[in-house]
């Protein structure tokens, strides 16, 4: 049944086989196919000769070029360091306060800061340092540990409650869960804390509220002053937040304040000294204070929104 036929269009013979009407021409493989394959094969052979390629029992062929990707990476790292050499030494050898006064350095900081900040900090603090619920804003004037570059540098280096041996430690006790305060006292002291920044609360027009605020105040004096200060102004030595302003990390509503007092708080910030070069930590320490300056200029609208949350 094998009958070769000549295809009228191409002039080639068929192979004589037919599968449900499908036939095949017995035409040659175009010479171009062989030429291309020869080129590709010769390219590969050359590549194998020049580069590490075929495995053997002990090792693999090393290639005539002596190319080694580990060496290449080392070399690239050296080059990368050379590219930063012009400012690296100055930053390494100068104190942060001096650097902050150097206009040239601050230009560098403003150029390098945004990408560094967005890659490492923005995940929690937002790309403009605007923060989010549970994550402090860095572009306002409320600071837990102070906004001097040295304080920021220390926070970046060791973190907060980070497990690092020199970490900053800041823990708000769980007054409710540990049984230190009963629920009535907790409610009252939360109301008192609200009244510190809101003159409408406990102003005397509502008598029962006034009584609660007063009771809250005495609880506050007994339990809270040690960290938050007698007037609620906070204390950067312990990272205790100021309670009299309108900036809130976890939120201002009474319910949230009660949660904070019942269960305590211990926000964590990781330490960066193992992950970022010391010079980059310095650049970031100088960059973070500029966020609030920029915010004054560009983002005053955003800020009021965040503050009121």
């Amino acid at each position: 049944m094998s009958v070769e036929e000549r295809d009228r269009y191409t002039g080639h013979m068929t192979t004589g086989h037919s599968w449900n009407g499908i036939t095949e021409l017995n035409s040659r493989v175009p010479r171009l196919w062989y030429i291309c394959f020869a080129i590709a094969f010769l390219f590969s052979v050359a590549y194998w000769v020049l580069m590490p390629a075929w495995p053997g029992m002990e090792s693999h062929t090393q290639g005539l070029l002596g190319f080694d990707q580990k060496k290449v990476v080392k070399q690239q790292r050296i080059e990368a360091e050379q590219n930063t050499a012009m400012w690296r030494d100055q930053i390494t050898n100068t104190s942060l306060s001096e650097l902050a006064d150097n206009a040239e350095v601050m230009t560098l900081v403003r150029r390098a800061g945004p990408a560094l900040f967005e890659d490492n900090c923005a995940g929690c603090h937002g790309d403009l340092g605007q923060g989010a619920t549970n994550y402090p804003s860095l572009n306002d004037d409320a600071w837990l540990w102070g906004n001097e570059p040295e304080s920021i540098y220390k926070t970046l280096q060791h973190g907060i409650n980070s497990g690092h041996s020199q970490a900053r430690i800041a823990q708000m006790p769980a007054f409710g869960n540990s049984g230190l305060l009963d629920s009535e006292s907790i409610h009252d002291v939360a109301l008192y804390v609200q009244s510190l920044s809101n003159p409408l609360i406990g102003n005397g027009s509502n008598v029962s509220e006034l009584l609660q605020v007063n009771n809250g105040k005495s609880v506050y004096q007994a339990q809270c002053v040690a960290c938050h200060g007698s007037n609620g102004q906070g204390n950067p030595l312990f990272g205790a937040p100021n309670l009299t302003d309108t900036h809130w990390i976890y939120g201002y509503p009474l319910k949230t304040l009660i949660e904070t007092i019942v269960a305590g708080r211990a926000g964590q910030m990781p330490y960066w000294e193992d992950r970022l070069d010391d010079n980059l930590l310095k650049i970031l320490s100088l960059y973070v204070p500029t966020l609030s300056e920029d915010a004054e200029i560009h983002h005053s609208d955003d800020r009021t929104k965040t503050d009121n949350s």
Partner: protein, 554 residues
């Protein structure tokens, strides 16, 4: 359809479904504290439903002997419908997550709707659900015709098709509830993997049995490709999924490999899944349906063979190009680069063979959107294999790796090659199998073609741009020697490209919806006149020595 099964086949089928249902019940019981229980219930209900349908039909009359003189096409018909179903699911989810890239809040805050769970539903849905069902369905069709032999029995094709779809259901539902072994394109856990081995072994045996019964002296090249697809996918699947389950009552398992060996095994699997699932299988489809539709002889028998061996031999080595600049030793990367380069030649041999086959039929390509689907598929096959080899070169890869260029490349192959050859094939097959002279609407085939092609081009152009912009942003340094852009900057820069990609994808989804409508109308209504005009595309008679099959003894 069940009426076509012999009494013995019906009884065997009920026995199998009861057995599978019992396995499901076992998992539902012993794994009741684990996610596997949900899958136990899925298996139990899936098998019970089929057992119920079988039992209801057990008293239907025994099919006449005359059926043995015709090819057995019921599983192919079901496979086409299932393939289109999974295509709609997989492509819709794909476009959903495409929009999620542009608008990240598109997850509705639900765990099952997160990107990480939906993405494998998309990839498995289109590769295995759409592509796998299309391959199984068409392979049944092609092997019968090119062997001039009926399938050796009527039960095993159904077992393969329905069993494979149970695997797809387990895969997709598992991802949504959080079951995955985190290997790309091999996410399903151990019990689903074992099930697929059973199904796949049956498939291989079925194929070999049909080949053994052939009444043609030679084996047509399409069968070589289908057989390579079945055989190699079995090897890949088994090796890459070697794992130790925590227990029989847990969905979790641990891979036998770790570290760079695990990575290399995974990408040996991953790349050869592209090679043997998405390339070899669909080349088998192309080698049958393109010459059949064009009514032209294959341009060169010798080029089919040389390209077949080129592709099967060389592809095996190309996997390391997925792991350039990683912990993988460089000599392995070298082999990956060089074999990827050499791979262009046999790949273009196949694409060229397809396009040159159309010589003498280009007027048909102009007039017939079905044939044009297949022609464009061959062009995209050539383009994406060239692009793949190009991206495998290390310096190019250092720019393209981890960017959306890779996603664009995959879709040029998946949308342009795999899906286009499938659509062309379905538009041939549906009228042939349901005995219509043509599709319900030629206009809708045209419309589908242009929607899909425009969609692909928008998709590819936007992701080429996206990938190159990303790659350049990640490697741009300032004059101070520091990175100029944060990662977030590069994400924000992607928004317009992701938006355009979402549009391109939407057009593609719209295209398959048109196809579903057109296929439905062809099956359901056709036209009275077209039924009379129907000419069977099949020649000759089916092998008559069928009496050894299970069915004939009844």
């Amino acid at each position: 359809m069940i009426g076509q099964l012999t009494l013995l086949e019906r009884r065997l089928a009920i026995a199998i479904t009861v057995l599978v249902a019992m396995v499901g019940a076992f998992f539902a019981l012993v794994g009741r504290d684990d996610l596997i229980a949900i899958h136990g219930w899925v298996i139990l209900m899936f098998a019970s439903l089929i057992a119920f349908l079988l039992c209801r039909a057990i008293r239907l009359p025994i099919p006449p002997e005359a059926r043995l003189r015709e090819y057995y096409d019921d599983p192919t018909k079901a496979g086409i419908v299932l393939s289109l179903f999974w295509g709609v699911v997989g492509m819709s989810v794909g476009d959903w997550i495409a929009w999620m890239m542009a608008y990240p809040d598109f997850t509705f805050d639900a765990a099952w709707a997160s990107y990480g769970r939906l993405r494998p539903v998309h990839t498995s849905g289109v590769i295995f659900g759409f592509g796998g069902n299309a391959l199984i369905a068409t392979s049944f069709h092609v092997m019968q015709r090119t062997c001039r032999a009926r399938l050796p029995d009527q039960l095993s094709p159904w077992f393969v098709l329905i069993g494979f779809n149970l695997f797809c259901v387990l895969a997709a539902s598992g991802y949504l509830i959080g079951i995955t072994q985190s290997k790309e394109y091999a996410e399903p856990e151990w019990y689903a993997d074992i099930w697929l081995v059973i199904v796949w072994a049956t498939y291989l045996v079925l194929y070999l049995r049909t080949l053994a019964r052939r009444r043609e002296p030679h084996i047509y090249v399409a069968n070589w490709y289908y057989l390579a697809f079945i055989l190699v996918v079995a090897v890949l699947h088994i090796v890459n999924n070697l794992a130790v389950p925590v227990s029989f009552s847990s969905a979790k398992s641990y891979s036998l490999f770790s570290g760079v060996q695990d990575a290399m095994t995974q990408w040996w699997y991953g790349h050869n899944a592209v090679a043997f699932f998405l390339t070899a299988g669909f080349l088998g489809m192309m080698y049958y349906f393109l010459p059949k539709r064009a009514e032209r002889p294959i341009f060169s028998y010798r080029m089919s063979i040389i390209s077949f061996w080129g592709i099967t031999f060389i592809y095996m080595w190309a996997g390391p190009h997925h792991l350039h600049y990683t912990a993988l030793p460089q000599w392995v990367q070298t082999l990956g680069v060089t074999f990827s380069i050499m791979l262009i030649v046999p790949s273009w041999g196949s694409a060229g063979n397809a396009l040159l086959t159309l010589n003498g039929a280009w007027h048909k390509v102009r007039d017939d959107a079905t044939l044009r689907f297949m022609m464009v598929a061959a062009v995209f096959y050539g383009l994406s294999t060239f692009e793949g080899s190009f991206m495998a070169i290390r310096p190019v890869n250092s720019l393209s790796h981890y960017t959306d260029w890779t996603i664009g490349h995959v879709h040029s192959g998946a949308l342009g090659w795999v899906a286009f050859i499938t659509f062309g094939t379905f538009y041939c097959l549906v009228p042939w199998l349901w005995k219509r002279s043509q599709m319900y609407s030629k206009f809708l085939v045209e419309l589908h073609f242009w929607f899909a092609l425009t969609g692909i081009i928008i998709y590819l152009v936007s992701l080429w741009n996206a990938g190159i912009v990303q790659g350049l942003m990640w490697r741009t340094y300032t004059e101070d020697g520091l990175l100029a852009y944060s990662f977030q900057d590069s994400v924000e820069a992607m928004h317009p490209y992701y938006f355009a990609r979402g549009i391109g994808g939407l057009m593609y989804v719209f295209g398959i919806l048109i196809a579903v409508y057109n296929v439905y109308m062809t099956i359901r209504f056709g036209t009275k006149e077209s039924d009379i005009e129907f000419k069977s595309p099949d020649e000759g008679v089916v092998a008559s020595k069928l009496e050894t099959s299970t069915g004939a003894t009844q």
